[in-house]
C-alpha cells in the first residue's frame, strides 16, 4: 500500500510542487495550508510522514511539530529556508526527524522523503514478543513501544532508531559516525549536530538525571554506549 504523506505549507505553489512530485512517485498526498489543519489531519488520518513548513502565520512549523509530538511519533521533515541554520537545530529539538532547505530540487525532496520513510520502517530482524529491559526502561521490540516505570514514552521514529541501535549493541560503544550513517544514512555521516540534538532529546525523555545518564552514556570523542546492566539493577 502506498505511503500517505501530509504536506503543510501556506504557499499553495509549494504544496502543489511537493504534491506533483510525490504523486508521480506513487505516494498518497494529504494537504494542509496552516498549522491547525495540519494537526487535525495528523490526528485523523494517521499519515506516514509530514512535510512541515516553518514560516506559517499563526501556528508556525515549530509549534505544530511540538504539538504533533505530544500525540504522535509520525516522522516529520521540516522545510526550512536557507541561511537560517538555527531553525534546523530548533526543528530537530522540537522532535523533527529531518529537514530540507528551500530552495530544493524535486529529486532532493524525493530522496529525503525516501530516506526518512526508510528510517521509520520497523526493523524486521526483531523476534516477535521480545521485550528488552534496561533498569526502569522496558522496550517492546515487536510493537516498537518504550516504557519508563511502566508508563509509555513517545519517541519519534528517529529517536526510536537511535535507541534500537544502542540496544542491539548493548555494552559496546557505537562511534558517532556509525550511529549517524546507521540511523540517518551515509550522507549524514558528518552531521554531528543532528546527533547531539537527538541524543539530548532522547535523554530528556528517558533519563531521570540528564547529567548522570544511565541508558545513553557519552564516550567522549568516540560515541555513545548503553551500558550493560546486571539483573535486578535499577537506575
Amino acid at each position: 500500500m502506498s505511503k500517505k504523506i501530509l504536506i503543510v505549507d501556506d504557499e499553495p505553489r509549494y504544496v502543489r510542487l511537493m504534491e506533483a512530485n510525490l504523486i508521480s512517485d506513487n505516494y498518497q498526498v494529504l494537504k494542509a495550508y496552516n498549522g491547525e489543519q495540519a494537526l487535525e489531519i495528523v490526528s485523523n488520518e494517521n499519515p506516514d510522514l509530514v512535510l512541515l513548513d516553518i514560516m506559517m502565520p499563526i501556528l508556525d512549523g515549530f509549534i505544530v511539530c511540538e504539538r504533533i509530538r505530544k500525540f504522535s511519533t509520525v516522522p516529520i521533515i521540516m522545510v526550512t529556508v536557507k541561511g537560517e541554520e538555527q531553525d534546523r537545530v530548533r526543528g530537530l529539538d522540537m522532535g523533527a526527524d529531518d529537514y530540507i532547505v528551500k530552495p530544493f530540487s524535486a529529486t532532493e525532496l524525493l530522496a529525503r522523503v525516501r530516506a526518512v520513510l526508510r528510517r521509520a520502517a520497523k526493523p524486521t530482524n526483531i523476534p516477535a514478543q521480545s521485550v528488552f529491559h534496561h533498569g526502569t526502561m522496558d522496550i517492546d521490540l515487536a510493537k516498537a513501544e518504550v516504557f519508563l516505570n511502566g508508563k509509555m514514552v513517545y519517541l519519534s521514529a528517529t529517536e526510536y532508531r537511535i535507541l534500537l541501535q544502542l540496544v542491539q549493541n548493548v555494552g559496546s560503544v557505537i562511534p558517532s559516525e556509525q550511529l549517524l550513517s546507521d540511523v540517518w544514512g551515509e550522507e549524514y555521516k558528518k552531521d554531528k549536530e543532528i546527533l547531539w540534538v537527538s541524543i539530548s532529546r532522547l535523554r530528556q525523555k528517558l533519563e531521570k538525571d540528564q547529567n548522570n545518564p544511565q541508558h545513553i552514556v557519552t564516550r567522549s570523542g568516540v560515541g555513545y554506549i548503553m551500558p550493560e546492566m546486571r539483573e535486578g539493577q535499577t537506575n
Binding site: D10, E11, R13, Y14, R16, L17, A20, N21, S24, D25, M55, M56, P57, V81, K82, G83, K102, P103, F104, S105, A106, T107, E108, L109
Partner: protein, 417 residues
C-alpha cells in the same frame, strides 16, 4: 569656590526657596527656554538684573545668543542684546567668571548710565558649553555674594544644557536604532521575498527536468506558467529595490510633461481589473484633467495602490475620484476593506515599514508606499492616508495641475514641447 560659598553665603529663607525652585525647574523640564524662564522668575529678586542672556557656541566659532530675557529697566533696550557680547566672548575665552562695567559716553559721572555685566561660563567638566550674562543698568555693581549666587545659577544651567543634550543624543540614538531594526527586518523580509520566487523556479524547473517521470501536457504547462510568473515577480521585486535605492539617493529623474490623468487612470483601471479578477474599481473623473507628471512613474503609483487594495482589502470595491481645481488635482483612492490600525498610519510611508498583522500572510517588502510617496514628492505633490478599522482606507494624492486644456495629447503620445 564651593567651600567659600559654604563659609560666606548665608541664604535667607526666601532665597532658599528660590534656590530650591530653580533646582526643581532644572530637574523637571527638558526644555531649556521654559526652565530659564523659571530661573529668571525665581532669581530676579535675589540677584537684581535687567537682562539675562544665554550665549551658546556657533557651529564654527563665536557665540550666538540662544536665550534672552529683558526685565525692569532693561526693557527700554528690549531686543537689543548686543551689549552682552563683549563680556560673553571674554568669559568664554577666559573660561572663568568675569565682571565688566561700561559707562555711557558723556554720562561717565552719572551712575544711572552705568552698565554692570556679569559673565559666567557654563561648564560641563573641562568643557565650556556657553556663557550666561547678567546685565544690570544703573548700578550698583554686583557684590561677591551675588556673584556666587550667579555661579550657582550658571552651574544649574550647565546641568540643564547637559540634560538637554543628553535627551537629544538619546532620541538620535533611538532613531538610529529604529532604522537599524527596520533594516534588519527588511533584510529578513527581502531575503524571504527573493527566495520564494527562486524556490518556485528551482522547484518547478527541476520537477520538469526529472528523467524518471513523464509529465502530461497540462502539468507541463502549469509548471512552466508558474516559472514564468515567478520570474516576473522576481523582476518586479528587483525593480522596486532599484527604484527605492535611486529615490533614496536622489538619482531618479522624472520626465515631467503635461498628461491627461483621467485617461491614464482609465488605462490603469482596465489593466488592473484584467490582471486581478477580484478587483472592482469605480472611476469618477471628468474629461481632460491635465497634470504635470511622468506618465511611467505616476502609473507606477496607482498600480501600487491598486495592487495593495487587492492584497490588503481583498474583495472590497475601490473608488477613484478625481477633483480638479485650477492649481491642484486631487485624486482619492478609497477602498472599503478592513482598514489599517491607527498606530500604523504614521509609519505607512516609511521605507521598509510593514504592518505586522498582515505581513506574514502577504508578500511585500515595505517599499511600495515609500516609492509612491517619493515619486509624488518628486512631482511637487503630496500623498496622505487616512483609515478606519473595518471601514476602509483612503489615499489622497495632490498633484500640481495644468488646468484643463484640449490641446494636450493623450498619454503615451509625443508630449508637446
Amino acid at each position: 569656590m564651593t567651600d567659600e560659598i559654604n563659609e560666606s553665603v548665608v541664604l535667607k529663607p526666601e532665597d532658599l526657596r528660590a534656590v530650591y525652585a530653580i533646582g526643581l525647574a532644572i530637574a523637571q523640564t527638558e526644555n531649556i527656554d521654559s526652565a530659564l524662564d523659571l530661573i529668571v522668575q525665581h532669581t530676579r529678586h535675589m540677584l537684581i538684573f535687567d537682562n539675562m542672556v544665554l550665549y551658546l557656541p556657533k557651529d564654527h566659532n563665536g557665540l550666538d545668543p540662544s536665550y534672552a530675557r529683558v526685565i525692569g529697566r532693561g526693557k527700554c533696550a528690549e531686543g537689543n542684546i548686543e551689549w552682552g557680547e563683549v563680556i560673553a566672548s571674554q568669559t568664554y575665552q577666559a573660561k572663568q567668571t568675569s565682571l565688566r562695567q561700561e559707562k555711557l559716553e558723556g554720562w561717565e559721572n552719572n551712575r544711572l548710565f552705568w552698565r554692570d555685566f556679569l559673565g559666567l561660563p557654563i561648564r560641563a567638566g573641562e568643557e565650556v558649553l556657553g556663557v550666561l550674562v547678567f546685565g544690570r543698568f544703573g548700578g550698583p555693581p554686583y557684590t561677591p555674594d551675588q556673584v556666587r549666587l550667579a555661579e550657582f545659577i550658571a552651574a544649574q544651567t550647565a546641568q540643564l544644557i547637559e540634560n538637554h543634550q543628553l535627551v537629544e543624543r538619546v532620541s538620535k540614538l533611538e532613531a538610529e536604532r529604529w532604522l537599524r531594526r527596520m533594516q534588519d527586518e527588511f533584510i529578513t523580509t527581502i531575503s524571504h521575498e527573493l527566495r520564494t520566487p527562486i524556490g518556485f523556479i528551482k522547484g518547478y524547473a527541476t520537477t520538469l527536468l526529472r528523467d524518471d517521470t513523464k509529465w502530461d501536457d497540462e502539468s507541463r504547462r502549469e509548471f512552466l506558467t508558474i516559472i514564468d510568473e515567478e520570474a516576473d515577480r522576481l523582476h518586479e521585486l528587483i525593480d522596486d529595490l532599484l527604484d527605492s535605492a535611486r529615490l533614496k539617493a536622489g538619482t531618479m529623474f522624472m520626465q515631467l510633461q503635461p498628461i491627461r490623468i483621467d485617461q491614464i487612470l482609465r488605462e490603469i483601471v482596465v489593466r488592473s481589473t484584467n490582471r486581478y479578477s477580484s478587483l472592482a474599481v469605480q472611476l469618477n473623473a471628468e474629461h481632460g484633467v491635465t497634470v504635470m507628471a511622468d506618465p511611467l512613474r505616476i502609473t507606477q503609483v496607482f498600480d501600487n495602490l491598486l495592487s495593495n487594495a487587492v492584497k490588503y482589502a481583498p474583495g472590497a470595491p475601490v473608488k477613484i475620484n478625481v477633483k480638479n481645481s485650477s492649481e491642484i488635482c486631487t485624486i482619492i483612492v478609497e477602498d472599503q476593506g478592513p482598514g489599517i490600525s491607527e498606530n500604523h498610519l504614521p509609519h505607512l510611508f516609511e521605507r521598509f515599514y510593514r504592518v505586522p498583522e498582515t505581513s506574514v500572510s502577504n508578500h511585500g517588502t515595505g517599499l511600495g508606499l515609500f516609492i509612491c510617496q517619493q515619486i509624488i514628492h518628486e512631482h511637487g505633490g503630496d500623498i496622505s492616508v487616512c483609515s478606519e478599522e473595518s471601514k476602509g482606507t483612503v489615499f489622497t494624492i495632490n498633484l500640481p495641475c495644468q488646468g484643463s486644456t484640449k490641446d494636450i495629447p493623450p498619454a503615451g503620445e509625443e508630449p508637446i514641447a
